[in-house]
């Protein structure tokens, strides 16, 4: 026996290639996953997000105010989607996460500029994701000074230094953990629950017990609920662990309503286990179920706003992100835990998650075959 016989090696290679080709899903994954990673990493992810939506609270719209606003927009970081908000509206916008910044220009701003009396503006940044705000904040000083001296150029000499007050809301120290740890709960839940439930039916098929199960009187809805409910209990344990760790190990604040968060987690977990079950109606083997789970998991991490700022992504990536349950859950949990968001503030993510439950559930029941056809 030679150590390496070419004919034996060839036989092994041929067999391996045939099996690879026969397993269509694996083959597709081998091509699709690198492509997906390439596109997501390459085009969608941006660590220095620009054109972040902002609200402007400016009771008097004089020329200095306008100059400041246009100078801020020119930096490319700010986009004033809500140019004439009241203080209360602005507060709601930032709490809901509709805007990343609230720029407040006091009514005496113009007068103080002209008199040279230390004009002030207030910039409140949503610092739940510290990386979003950092670029926008760092450019402020020079921008403001330049804008005003241009505006004053005709009348007098040097502009008074603008005192820019920055409030990093919800996370004054800019701690990354505040953003990551609640997000991790979503990621952990998604990883484990979708993976476990995605094997629900494939395991029965692989072990040959499916035929017997189908021959007995159980309805598709009963089978689905029977399969996913135990994993909801698993999810509950995971939630408890992450919440305790968030508090005890990472000191993440919890300012919102516990019950509201609980409701959000419940709907999210339900969406996840039913998504997993939906995958199990499509996969033929447990291996395929794993691969499909991974196929959903990868964009969830990349495009949900967990790893990279959601607002920094181009429109197409954000639209993809919107169809992932994790995106909506992150908005909800960060809103409730860090900002103390109330029901009205998280109604939209909550509704989106409920919609996922309905859609995934309906698809799973439609896909489920009561027969072996």
């Amino acid at each position: 026996m030679t150590l390496l016989s070419l004919s034996r090696l060839r036989a092994l290679l041929v067999k391996e290639m045939i099996q690879m080709r026969r397993d269509r899903v694996t083959f597709a994954m081998m091509l699709a996953v690198p492509l997906m990673q390439l596109l997501l990493f390459g085009y969608a992810i941006n660590n220095d997000p620009k054109h972040l939506s902002a609200a402007l609270v400016a009771p008097t719209q004089d020329r200095f105010t306008r100059a400041m606003v246009s100078a801020l927009e020119l930096t490319g970081y700010y986009q004033f989607r809500h140019p004439a908000a009241t203080a209360a509206e602005a507060e709601a916008l930032i709490a809901r996460g509709d805007v990343s910044f609230v720029v407040t220009v006091p009514s005496d701003f113009g007068r103080r500029v002209q008199r040279g009396e230390d004009p002030q503006i207030l910039i409140e940044a949503d610092a739940t994701d510290p990386s979003v705000a950092s670029g926008a904040i760092s450019t402020l000083g020079t921008v403001a000074a330049d804008a005003l001296s241009r505006e004053l150029g005709a009348t007098s000499g040097a502009a008074p230094p603008v005192d820019i007050v920055v409030h990093r809301r919800y996370n004054p120290e800019g701690l990354t953990q505040y953003n990551i740890v609640p997000g991790l709960m979503g990621v952990i839940l998604q990883m484990i629950l979708v993976m476990m439930t995605s094997m629900a039916l494939t395991r029965e098929i692989e072990r040959g017990t499916m035929e017997n199960l189908l021959a007995m009187p159980a309805t598709p809805a009963e089978i689905m609920l029977g399969k996913v409910m135990p994993y909801m209990a698993v999810g509950a344990v995971q939630v408890a662990v992450v919440l305790v760790a968030a508090r005890g190990l990472f000191g993440v604040p919890f300012v919102g309503s516990f019950w509201l968060l609980g409701a959000g987690i419940f709907v999210f977990v339900l969406a996840l286990v039913i998504l997993g079950y939906l995958i199990s109606t499509a996969a033929r083997t447990q291996m395929q179920a794993m691969q499909l789970t991974f196929f959903v998991f990868l964009p969830s991490i990349m495009l949900s706003g967990f790893m990279f700022p959601f607002r920094g992504m181009p429109l197409w990536a954000r639209m993809l992100g919107e169809v992932l349950p994790l995106t909506h859950f992150l908005r909800l949990i960060r809103g409730v835990m860090l900002k103390g968001a109330g029901y009205a503030d998280v109604a939209r993510p909550l509704a989106a998650l409920s919609l996922f439950v309905l859609i995934f559930g309906a698809l799973a029941l439609l896909r489920f075959r009561r027969t072996l056809d």
């Binding site: 072990r207 040959g208 017990t209 499916m210 035929e211 017997n212 189908l214 021959a215 007995m216 009187p217 159980a218 009561r370 027969t371 072996l372 056809d373």
Partner: protein, 299 residues
């Protein structure tokens, strides 16, 4: 009313017609044998009968319910034992039975009685996966009849089971039949076919013969001779393909030579100068003949 009464069942997988126009009638209380070679469509037929597969064509009733539209009602009244052990190997005997009892909504006593009947009360905690083939089969049968179905569909129930367990299994089937249960059992063991009240022989997706064992043998119109020789192998190769000889099957030191043309066969045997005497044609000879005929039809 017949318990099973289906006509023209047809089912294809891809381009392959696995079951082709099979009609089947099974009367109440009957033990109907469903015979045929591997891949002849027995399992597909049974799955269509219990609503697990939808026929491409054909219609009929099982227990009075339409097989295409009332699968739910059929499922509740039949017991179906799959070819492969399909209970949960990682559950204990009692846990498996409790699961089945729960799905059919049976009272808790049902499991206790079944365990006692099986003689498994003391081993109730044992994992089903650790049972021997014979015990798995008994457990599966017990689980299938726990809800007192009116029709039992058994798909090769005795594959891989030792003779004693097989004997006991058939005693149980006859006892159930005596109580009025109708049974359709697929097999390719000839001795099992002979234990059925009536057999249905299916080959290449088509029903090739039907009736009692004696009837099927008679209908085949075969004559068989036992040839005794010191060198059966040599004789067999010499007789093969000779006029009137259609099948040669060695049985120890003797050969069973079968054909349809008595005169030609006797002539050939006489010319070969071997010792021969007429014998009863066996079911096996008939089945092999039917199989070859069906093969010809396919070609």
């Amino acid at each position: 009313m017949n318990v099973i009464d289906v006509q023209g069942l047809t089912r294809s997988f891809g381009a392959r017609k696995v079951v082709d126009g099979v009609s089947l009638v099974v009367e109440k209380g009957e033990i109907a044998g469903f015979l045929g070679p591997n891949g002849s469509g027995k399992t597909t037929c049974i799955r269509m009968l219990c609503g697990l597969l939808t026929p491409d064509a054909g219609s009929g009733r099982v227990l009075g319910h339409d097989i295409c539209s009332q699968q739910g009602a059929i499922r509740r009244q039949i017991g179906y034992m799959t070819q492969r052990f399909s209970f949960y190997e990682d559950l204990s005997i009692a846990e498996n039975l409790n699961f089945v009892a729960g799905l059919y909504g049976l009272p808790p006593g049902a499991v206790r009685d079944t365990l006692a009947d099986l003689g498994l009360t003391s081993r109730r905690g044992q994992l089903a996966g650790s049972l021997s083939g014979g015990w798995k089969q008994r457990l599966a049968l017990a689980a299938c009849i726990m809800h007192q179905p009116q029709l039992l569909l058994l798909d090769e129930p005795t594959a891989g089971v030792d003779p004693k367990a097989r004997r006991e299994f058939w005693d149980e089937i006859h006892a159930l039949s005596a109580r009025g249960l109708t049974v359709l059992v697929s097999t390719h063991y000839m001795d099992e076919a002979e234990r059925c009240h009536r057999i249905n022989y299916i080959a290449y997706g088509r029903l090739a013969a039907r009736g009692s064992v004696a009837q099927v043998i008679e209908d085949a119109g075969l004559v068989t001779y036992t040839v005794t020789s010191a060198r059966p192998g040599l004789i067999a190769s010499r007789l093969s393909g000779a006029p009137g000889v259609e099948q040669i099957a060695p049985f120890g030191a003797t050969l069973h030579v079968t054909g349809t043309d008595r005169a030609a066969l006797e002539g050939t045997l006489r010319a070969a100068g071997v010792e021969f005497r007429p014998t009863q044609t066996s079911l096996e000879d008939v089945f092999i003949r039917l199989m070859e005929q069906s093969e010809d039809n396919m070609a």
